[in-house]
């Protein structure tokens, strides 16, 4: 289903005037535990770098403005909207995407909880919901009661409205963590 070839549009094309698009910066970072080096123009946001250059398309674009949370990833362990940050800002950073949650073929407890509680419908906001959950469960400042969880998760919109099940999944994952 997914195309296996890793595709880099920058390399694949010969722009008419190559000198105009050679304004790239080298960025080295750790992505899901693996070292990665990127050559990107400075205005490439992290989300587009992940999706369009590294084929890590599990992280979704819902608004491109930091309003919906679909693009949430972990940067050095903390949740962040990957659409609101430039790739070049993450030299040396450790970035975890939804593709990095499962380990050795074993789903992360948050993934298992989302599966069991049907904490999604279309699945498009799900990566962001789960990354925020992982971050929140590690954040001692956020209470464990339902109201605190709902407040903390409100940056992640689910237009399908599977909020009740997401809350159940979050609390179930907390209990198992």
């Amino acid at each position: 289903m997914m195309d296996d070839s890793v595709h880099s549009p920058d390399d694949a094309l010969q722009p008419r005037d190559a000198s105009r698009s050679s304004n790239t910066v080298t960025v080295s970072l750790t992505l899901n535990g693996e070292p990665v080096t990127l050559e990107v123009e400075p205005n490439v946001v992290l989300l587009d770098a992940l999706r369009e250059r590294l084929d890590l398309t599990g992280t979704k674009k819902g608004c491109d403005h930091g309003q919906c949370g679909a693009c949430t990833v972990l940067i050095d362990g903390h949740s962040a909207n990957s659409c609101l940050t430039l790739a070049v800002m993450h030299e040396g950073c450790e970035i975890t995407t939804v593709e990095g949650l499962a380990r050795d073929g074993q789903l992360h407890p948050v993934q298992e909880a989302f599966l069991e509680h049907d904490a999604y419908q279309c699945g498009y906001c799900t990566a962001g919901q789960m990354m925020s959950t992982v971050s929140m469960l590690n954040d001692k400042r956020i209470g464990s009661d339902d109201a605190s969880v709902k407040e903390a998760m409100s940056g992640n919109i689910c237009r399908c409205g599977a909020y009740k099940n997401i809350l159940s999944a979050v609390q179930s994952a907390r209990a198992k963590a």
């Binding site: 498009y124 789960m130 969880v149 992640n156 237009r159």
Partner: protein
Amino acid sequence: MTESIIGHRTTRIDGELKLTGKADYAADHNLPGQVYGYPVPSTIARGRLVGLDLDAARQAPGVIEIVHRGNFPALQHSDNNPACGSEGRLFHSPNTMAEQNKVGEARLPFEDDGIHYEGQYIAMVIADTFEHARAAARLVTARYEEETAVPGLFQTDDEGEEAGDEAVSRGDPEGAFESAPVKFDHTYTIAMETHVAMELHASNATWDGDRLTIYESTQGVVFQRNAMAQIFGIPPEKVTVIAHYIGSGFGSKLFMWPHAVITAVAAKMVGRPVKTVLSRQQNFCSAGNRPASRQRIRMAADRDGKLLSIRHDSQNETSFVDAYTESVGSGTPRVYACDNVSVSQRRVQVNHGTPTSMRAPGEVSGSVALEIAMDEMAIELGMDPLELRRRNFAERDPSADLPWSGNHLRECWDDASRRFGWEKRNPQIGSMRDGHEIIGWGMADATWEAMRSHCKARVELRADGKVQVACGTQDIGTGTYTIVAQTASELTGVPLERIEVKLGDSTLPAGPLSGGSMATATTLPAVAGATRDAIEQLKQLAIADGAPFEGKEADALTFENGTLSDGSQTLSFAELLDKLQRGMAEGEASAAPGEEQDKFSFRSFGAHFVEVRWDPGISRLRVSRVVSTIDVGRAINPLTARNQVEGAIVMGMGMGMFEETEYDSAGNIYNNNYADYIVPVHADIPDIEVELLDNPDYNFNEFGVRGIGEIGITGMAAAISNAVYHATGKRIRDMPIKIADLIASR
């Protein structure tokens, strides 16, 4: 098999793909040689495009092509443009449901120089990267001859054009109204809403000679294939539309929008795959909306609460490039027993984006007005609003002179009111308090027609022990993959782990749109038929000359738990196929509604009970509790079915309290993003307790299912408004309810 999997809580078979980021949505496809499309939208809402300055964009880094009216294939007349089709021209799609080629907007992109709404495409830049395409698109400048935009429905006196086929009348509604002892005449409005599905509309088109393959975020691969074939003048079998996963649509992705046509033309022009992902802002302009509606309801009853007359006359917005009728009153003649009813609908053309179906199209808007009106009638009569509804229960479908196949509304009322505690309601306005907060309790009925369409499916029992089911419908998040697998598992006895489901590809046997709550009732009978056909073919293979069951009658063989048996010999289908050196036993089937349609009226019913809390000190309104009981026949998968209703309730909260696409007088949307167009978020979500009655509707199909996607949103905003009235005494007839409405002096 020992236990039925139909009706059993089943986690999604595609769940792990969605949870690991492997589910492939349209924009997730990155094809070799792919380039990027970025549209240039009109910044005016009405006028003519008189000039485009493309020079700066052409000089920008990475730009490969700019598609615009000057180089776009002309409509239906030959020119020398080599871009598309053998004659370099395009055609209109016939744009019909019957031919399954309906599109979102009849006008082709760049068809003329007219500008009909803000955000209409005036060009699309094709560049090597997304960033280059976006940057260059912003360098395109346009010159317009601007005209004064026709403002929205609520700012115009235009009566609009009558949609004649919507008109319904029975009895003498006018006479009955005039002579009735209790009556009122009120007007209700529903603001324009936008679907804002999380997934942005996206197309990724590739041509191989005269064959087009397009990954699209669509609720209808077959419809889009047919429309594309018509527009490009090529046979449907040369068009493949793929939508394995869809980040939902709620109607906005039922029918193809112009960006897909531009993307396909661009791919032809540049000879490469072109991927276009619309921005959120663009999605608001040119991918449909629930049109604003204004509804006048004249309702009359006798003093015992018997409804004597309902007249429901509505208007909806449409654009200048497609005539969209929102069937606002479609439920009104059917829900309650009333001898004198009329419904009419008018369309008013405005310079807003073209509307389309949005979850429970028409009927939800109508149900909100009707269910508020029922509450108003209860107040007029001094009667409990639930009791008023009980007194007008329709024993038969009053609009069709047919018996209901199954109307369990009374059970819904009983169950939901009991769980809610409705009998403890003090009817006096503002009488129920909890500290600073005034509590309001309101209720409304929910209803949605049960529909079914044509469907084909194919099933393969494979030598590797797997069962593959294929159907050209989609799973938009509703759980279609899983219920199709449950169906095949039920009939074969093969566990879910060994069932593969292929959906979302127009080359598969033609399946239905994922819309109208009809995909389940439409698809499963075809899947069942194909499964039985495959089992029958397996039996025929088994009894053929030289086969393990040679000489037996096919009917004497049983097929259970994936194994074929004649009582003495038992072979799994994999073992049998292996012995026969066959790859598979294949079955196909086609299913369609039949004569049951002439015998029964098929409609689902339910009831919402809502608690709101109004804190007048800080002017805060919250929905604090929702208890709903819904009858949809059988729920194939209660886990995903309940999720559908809960999600629809949440969207109904949005309709009642938040959602409004706002245009200024020049026709520009000023809340075209996820921060300013407010939708419910985690913090808004109250306790939601949904029960689904389990009354299989076997008159409708062998599984007893009627569909579930829409019903939960109907009536919901009315239940909130009615609860607000109970708390505050403020009757809000304009959705969404605004705090300003509640703090205004009476």
